[in-house]
Symmetry: C2
Subunit: 199 residues, 2 copies
């Protein structure tokens, strides 16, 4: 997605222009506030001061504190969970799932989980969350697409249920079962879900 | 496991004698209190009154309120999530995972999740939780064992990682992704994890 900014050598932005700069500044400020002070203390006044964007502009765009905090939470996931690209489907998934597990086990991600669990269950909130998760999963689907391009994975097999299974298992191990999420511990899980039988 | 009680035609108990009756009465009373008043209001005095067992006896056996509530929580899982036996691996897993999802989406199970997330992360608590979960999973493993006996599943394949993947996916759909957990929605997930390719 080429933009004027890219052609001039300036840093790439997701959309063009002032609107995107405002969005990026506000989300970055929110992320920084969450990292420094946590979810309970997050205040729009502090975000406004930090980003240099007026509170009214922030509320005009995100409508509620929850809406902004949700967007910042997904930005934190993206920043903290690197999608590995090592040339092997099993290794890419193992490394990525392990990175996800390490982040999920952090105080910040545990607070994010509580925030998510507490969000209202109305149709609009649910629709927004589903859309955000769908976009997040697309980043993980690239692991399978690269594997298919290498001839390592059949391209016609839908990777989404397998990603739900793997990410779900990591959540379960961290938050419920209290099982380790090191690569050594997750590799057999990845191989089992991919139906890589021991040989 | 035959006991004197079984041979006399009386109801089967997990262990013999008075100790088991006291345990069953206290756990049943705790379960009833949780169902009626929720997790926050659970008090040992009410459990003692309801079960007819003294508070000192309760604390002698369970050491802490958390320990008793944990045992009752697992009893609630067992009671509310029927392990299906319909003669087909895909259908047994689909029905069981859907039942799990329906229960997990209930106010009581959501409160149980919060209780679990709040438990201390010391070594003793972790060891006890891992042991309880291991026992719980053994009930689900029977689905695969029955399938293997029918010749429907290779007996040498370890079902535990696949169960983590399936149960993890259900938790993720209920608590995070907000996706449905009806049999219609879960059957493709079960088939994908079992590597049942569409034909």
């Amino acid at each position: 997605m080429s933009t004027d900014a890219e052609q001039s050598g300036a840093p790439r932005r997701r959309q063009g222009g002032r609107s995107a700069r405002v969005r990026d500044a506000v989300v970055a400020a929110t992320v920084a506030e969450l990292e420094e002070s946590g979810y309970d203390k997050l205040g729009i006044a502090a975000v406004a001061a930090r980003s240099g964007v007026h509170e009214t502009s922030i509320y005009r765009r995100w409508k509620t504190r929850d809406g902004l905090v949700a967007e910042a939470t997904f930005a934190l996931f993206e920043r903290n969970i690197a999608v590995a690209d090592r040339g092997s489907l099993v290794e890419d998934l193992t490394a990525t799932m392990s990175a996800a597990g390490r982040y999920l086990d952090s105080p910040l991600a545990r607070a994010a989980l509580q925030f998510g669990l507490g969000l209202p269950r109305d149709a609009d909130t649910t629709r927004e969350l589903r859309a955000r998760w769908s976009a997040r999963f697309q980043a993980f689907e690239q692991i399978f697409e690269r594997a298919a391009a290498r001839g390592e994975w059949p391209a016609e097999v839908d990777s989404r249920p397998l990603l739900q299974a793997l990410i779900g298992a990591v959540y379960l191990r961290v938050h419920v079962l209290r099982e380790p999420v090191t690569p050594k511990h997750l590799r057999p899980l990845v191989e089992a879900v991919l139906a890589v039988r021991p040989h």
